[in-house]
């Protein structure tokens, strides 16, 4: 367990992770205030839990950036070599880092989603925003899981790419651009989009939600898998990528 302590000390002894975490939490909560703060009359009464969560994906990106930086800055400053020197069992060390980063990311995911829901309930006090259905619990509590898994994704990409700009570009372009553009490919495009990893991450959150004011189909309509299978599928991608990353890091020269 010493690797957990090592990575905890490393992460909290520099400032940028703190900033990332604060920004991630504030983004979701702030955007919830924006979407619910100006609702009047019937609109306010029709507000749903779903519309308190527009900032979640942005926060998720911020936490992925933090997760990737936790690795790439080590390569940037050469501390990865000191790290491997102290712990030659590279896979164990990197898994320790992954665990710490994923845990924090999950925690921020929960703070963000419940914080946003709390702010939404405060502003749209005339709407029924109580958490009643399993789907609503999944939307809020599940955010923690999705954040944690995407952090694993980000750490794996960081290990493979080894430099900040490249890793961050991939982590932002993949979910936001690549997964949305693949359905332009004729014939197979729709299937590719349905089976894309991040699409399944959000499918886990969005299935069965009352999109309400956000409009029908705001959270997607075309799901390949049932919610929990979708999450498992998303996690499978992260695990596969992490495995490749660990094998690569153990073999390559540091």
């Amino acid at each position: 367990m010493s690797v957990i302590t090592v990575e905890r000390i490393k992460l909290f002894s520099t400032r940028s992770p703190w900033w990332c975490m604060i920004v991630a939490a504030v983004l979701t909560v702030g955007l919830a205030a924006l979407t619910t703060g100006f609702l009047k009359g019937a609109d306010e009464q029709n507000a749903t839990i779903f519309i308190t969560q527009p900032g979640a994906q942005l926060s998720q990106m911020v936490m992925m950036v933090m997760a990737a930086l936790a690795v790439t800055t080590e390569y940037r400053f050469g501390t990865i070599r000191t790290s491997f020197q102290a712990v030659p069992q590279r896979a164990a060390l990197l898994l320790g880092k992954t665990a710490v980063v994923a845990f924090l990311s999950g925690l921020i995911g929960l703070i963000a989603s419940f914080g946003a829901w709390g702010v939404g309930s405060l502003f749209a006090s005339n709407a029924d925003l109580s958490i009643n259905t399993a789907a609503e619990w999944r939307l809020l509590a599940g955010q923690g899981l999705v954040f944690a898994i995407s952090a694993v994704f980000a750490v794996a990409v960081g290990i493979l790419i080894r430099q900040s700009a490249g890793a961050i570009a991939i982590l932002i372009l993949w979910p936001l651009l690549v997964e949305n553009l693949v359905n332009l490919i004729p014939k197979v495009g729709d299937d590719l989009a349905r089976w894309a990893p991040f699409a399944n991450g959000s499918s886990f959150l969005n299935q069965g939600q009352d999109f309400g004011l956000a409009g029908q189909g705001a959270g997607g309509t075309d799901f390949a898998l049932s919610p929990w299978w979708a999450l498992l599928y998303f996690a499978g991608w992260a695990a596969a990528l992490m495995t490749i990353a660990l094998v690569s890091a153990s073999k390559r020269d540091a």
């Binding site: 010493s2 690797v3 302590t5 090592v6 990575e7 000390i9 490393k10 002894s13 520099t14 400032r15 940028s16 800055t73 080590e74 400053f77 050469g78 501390t79 070599r81 000191t82 790290s83 491997f84 020197q85 102290a86 712990v87 030659p88 069992q89 060390l93 073999k251 020269d253 540091a254």
Partner: protein
Amino acid sequence: MIEAKGLTKRYGATVAVDNLSFEVKPGKVTGFLGPNGAGKSTTMRMILGLDTPTSGEVTIDGQRYRDLKRPLTKVGALLDAKWVHPNRSARAHLAWMAASNKLPKDSVDKALEMVGLSAVANKRAGAFSLGMSQRLGIAGALLGDPEVLLFDEPVNGLDPEGIVWIRTFMHRLADEGRTVLVSSHLLSEMALTAEDLVVIGRGKLIMQSTTQEFVDRASGTTVKVRTPQLDQLAGVLNGQQLVTRIEDVEDEGKVLFVDGDVRTDQVGEAAAAHGIVLHELTLQRGSLEQAFMQMTGDSVEYHAQDEIAAVTQLDAPSGTEVAAGPKEDN
């Protein structure tokens, strides 16, 4: 003891370390000597398990570095003083290292004190001068109180004060019975610091011996003579089958050197027999620099001829020149 057997590292077509075998004996400072780009850093990275050898292996007391359980208690190393996160404090940097090997809580403060950084322990490492960074690196190396210590070019870029400090420190470490391997391309530094030498050039072992042996074996003695009857003496000595050369030495004018293992007695007697006045007659030992140039110069030359032979054999076009190895000094 560090033991390398047939250690080889290839980067594509470039051979950075070529079938290198050597031993670093316990309780001594061993200098790891070679010109820039000779493969010293690559070898050190392989000792620490950071780079994987293409073939061969290197062990520390019979174990490969990657198999060590708490490596910092066995081997301490400073390869690059800049391998520190600039926004992390010196104390935090050592704290995570200590945690990784389950070292006692006070080891961080002890190490900081030993290198004299206690006062700036909570300052960010990015603001440190090179000398201070170097000390922080040494604190990291000493953290686990290891028997074996590796330092890569520890005096590079340091001011005189820093150099003296490092030198004294190395001696102290060896006096404590530790095994110290220090790489350098600065010969005078090695002459002052190291007892044993491992000399490499172009990734190959040139010689492993004590520093004294290295100097003795590499260059013979020379006799220096100053005399107003320069040509006459040269003629006499040449008559005795001795090799002489006349050189212009600054502030001294023309000076006669007698090469080969000749003794001052022989030169003095020859001069007396012919009534030649001598102003100076001294025996000069070869310096470490001379020895080094002689040995690595040979290796480079030999290597260059090798290349040419290979090229003509293969009838290859251009571009076969050996490129610089991996980034050695960055």
